[in-house]
């Protein structure tokens, strides 16, 4: 069997993958020089090796490579989400897909809390005030300077998987009430005071002081935080997104933030514009409404998963485990359900 790595792997990384594979497996990694980032790859650097690859593993795949990889049977995606994959294509061609969910769930949970506390304590605006030697008089009652206490508040966690439950555990130490929402409420949830199914989501939004989105982006969740959902939220509530930007309908969120219909937004994930005008040559930007510049918004850029020491090696190890299992004909850990999309 032949495994093709779709990034500019170091010698040590190639050896790491090889050691995890059954004997007789060939592991190929491009040796050319990366453009911007060695975890990304150019078409020309893998095109020659793609046609006879049985397994592909990487953080990205250039357009056209799947078509060349006629022999592909297994694909290992070194991300926690699988939303940017063409699930229909994999299904049609019978290609099995695995991801590395869980590799960075603690890091993401910590980042969620950093964002949540950052917006609740208005840290960014206060840091900015400090740089400008501006000192808001106490008792001025300007909401953008007033911190909110977490203790005794309700946190609604939409998506109570590995990230969501790690957030729930930490929220309990802040003496918060934890309301989880998950597709399978019958599975319960560690540290949660209540668990609801998707049908109960709007009620959870209505009672929450903080809402965390830690749910995969699927056909069902794309844009599911729209006008109706935002309208159910409290005027004093904060929305924290560590799932995907496209879970939230941007225009409705922007309107709610500018009209102070919710208290703030903190996000590590931004919108991905497909079906947008112009269809190509679009300027890459966090948000087309300029939402990231509002005073009640704080944001980071996909930092949640990156803080883990050795996250690259950890992801490679998780991925190699799945690839090796496939090659041995065993059930693959972390298989993506192509119908569900995660």
């Amino acid at each position: 069997m032949k495994v093709l790595l779709t990034w500019y792997a170091t010698d040590a990384e190639v050896a790491r993958v090889r050691n995890a594979m059954p004997p007789g497996t060939t592991v190929f990694a491009p040796a050319t020089r990366p453009n911007l980032c060695r975890l990304e790859i150019e078409y020309d650097d893998v095109a020659k090796e793609a046609p006879d690859a049985d397994v592909m593993m990487g953080w990205m795949v250039p357009d056209g490579i799947y078509e060349l990889a006629k022999n592909l049977k297994c694909f290992v995606w070194l991300h926690g989400g699988a939303d940017d994959l063409d699930k229909e294509m994999f299904k049609r061609r019978g290609i099995k897909v695995a991801n590395i969910r869980g590799a960075n769930s603690v890091s993401t949970a910590e980042h969620t809390f950093a964002l949540l506390l950052g917006i609740a304590k208005r840290l960014v605006i206060k840091h900015k005030a400090l740089l400008e030697s501006h000192w808001e008089p106490y008792g001025s009652n300007r909401p953008e300077y007033e911190a909110v206490i977490l203790e005794g508040k309700t946190i609604g966690i939409v998506g109570y998987g590995m990230v969501g439950s790690a957030v729930g555990k930490r929220a309990k130490a802040f003496d918060m009430r934890v309301a989880g929402v998950r597709k399978h409420p019958e599975r319960g949830g560690v540290a949660a005071d209540s668990i609801s199914g998707p049908a109960g989501m709007l009620d959870v939004l209505a009672e929450s002081d903080f809402v965390v989105l830690s749910v995969p982006l699927t056909k069902e969740t794309f844009g599911f935080i729209g006008e109706a959902a935002i309208k159910r939220m409290k005027k004093t509530a904060f929305l924290v997104n560590v799932g995907r930007g496209n879970l939230v309908q941007e225009r409705h969120l922007h309107a709610a933030l500018t009209e102070n219909r919710i208290a703030g937004y903190a996000s590590d994930v931004w919108w991905h514009y497909v079906h947008s005008f112009p269809p190509t040559y679009g300027l890459l930007q966090p948000s087309r409404t300029g939402l990231q510049k509002l005073p009640n918004v704080i944001g980071t850029m996909g930092q949640a998963g990156v803080a883990v020491p050795g996250i690259i090696s950890k992801s490679i190890d998780f991925g190699s485990e799945s690839a090796a299992a496939f090659i041995r004909g065993e059930p693959m850990p972390r298989t993506v359900d192509l119908d569900l999309g995660y």
Partner: protein, 342 residues
């Protein structure tokens, strides 16, 4: 007996105080217009009333106020720290002092966690990048963009009072190892893995990945985080201060941050320049080294204790308890030991 409030209490606040003190107490509440903040006042607002005052409660005492208040027997200081007070004068005159320690412990503990996570996850620098749509290749993040994990790290809490203990509880939910340093190590501590006395300070600093200062400022702790203490810390360590700026010697801290001998500093409290040139007429600034502008520093302007929802009410309630006890001739709760300074 006569009590004077040195803040512009709302009608509701004044009623709450009145309801808890003896009926025959003469309570004075300033009615003129506040200058910058209703929690501050000047001599013109209360001066006439101070002469007959048996007790004063407030956040400030206007300059000259103590001289005017010849009959003063009790001061209820609506702060947790009393470092601004002239202990010797208060002792000589036999004025009893109570503070409101504990009223804002949760708010300050939450702020400490907010600052720790903000530095660890580089929230401010990353937010600035998002605002200007700057996106560094993932494998080449500069250190000031790169986050660090809390999980598995060691947090040293210097000062294990109500704030320190509340932080310890929260840090444990992040799976951190927590070491406390306190004046009376024999008292032990909840949610901590070990407790040391101040003699072990340097030994503890050497092991810590995060160091939190939550100790009162006294003759012993003024500037106790000095060059030796800072050199004892790991170059990957982060220092958080929610107590008083003057606990830290500013120049060695600035140099350590500048030379990357320390990975970050998060603070809610700033230096108070007494004995500085020119002795007066200088403008107040957060830091004379400009430490707040370094990319690894996150700061707020002491908003932890007061600028959170509901804190003012809680502070007044606790203070009123002490005031009422004094007026009834009972021992005041939360009395300050004027020799220890807290």
């Amino acid at each position: 007996m006569k009590a004077v409030l040195t803040f512009f209490a709302t009608d509701e606040e004044a009623a709450r105080v009145r309801a808890k003190i003896p009926k025959d107490t003469e309570l004075f509440v300033p009615k003129s217009r506040p200058n910058l903040s209703r929690l501050e006042c000047a001599m013109k607002d209360v001066g006439d009333q101070l002469a007959g005052a048996d007790a004063v409660m407030g956040w400030v005492m206007p300059p000259g106020g103590f001289d005017r208040a010849k009959k003063l027997k009790a001061l209820v200081w609506l702060h947790a720290g009393c470092d601004e007070l002239d202990y010797r004068m208060l002792k000589e005159r036999g004025i009893k002092v109570a503070n409101i320690r504990g009223a804002n412990a949760i708010s300050v503990a939450e702020q400490a966690m907010a600052l720790m996570l903000a530095v660890a996850k580089r929230i401010v620098v990353n937010h600035q990048s998002v605002q200007i749509a700057h996106w560094e290749p993932q494998d080449r993040l500069r250190p000031e963009h790169k986050g660090m994990m809390l999980e598995g790290k060691t947090l040293a809490i210097i000062g294990l009072g109500s704030i320190g203990a509340a932080v310890a509880k929260r840090a444990r939910a992040f799976d951190m190892r927590v070491i406390g340093v306190r004046r009376h190590p024999e008292k032990g501590g909840e949610h901590v893995d070990a407790v040391h006395g101040f003699a072990d300070l340097l030994k503890v600093l050497r092991q810590a990945d995060f160091v939190l200062l939550a100790t009162p400022i006294t003759e012993e702790t003024f500037g106790f985080i000095d060059e030796d203490a800072i050199r004892a810390m790991k170059p990957t360590a982060v220092l958080i201060n929610v107590a008083r700026g003057n606990l830290i010697q500013e120049m060695p801290l600035y140099e350590a941050l500048k030379e990357n001998r320390l990975a970050g500093f998060g603070t809610d409290v700033w230096w108070n320049y007494t004995n500085s040139l020119p002795p007066t007429y200088h403008y107040p600034i957060p830091s004379r080294t400009g430490i707040q502008r370094l990319p690894t520093v996150v700061g707020a302007g002491n908003r932890a204790g007061v600028a959170a929802e509901g804190t003012i009410g809680r502070v007044i309630d606790l203070g009123t308890e002490s005031l009422a006890a004094f007026l009834r001739g009972q021992p005041m709760p939360r009395m300050i030991d004027l020799d220890l300074g807290y």
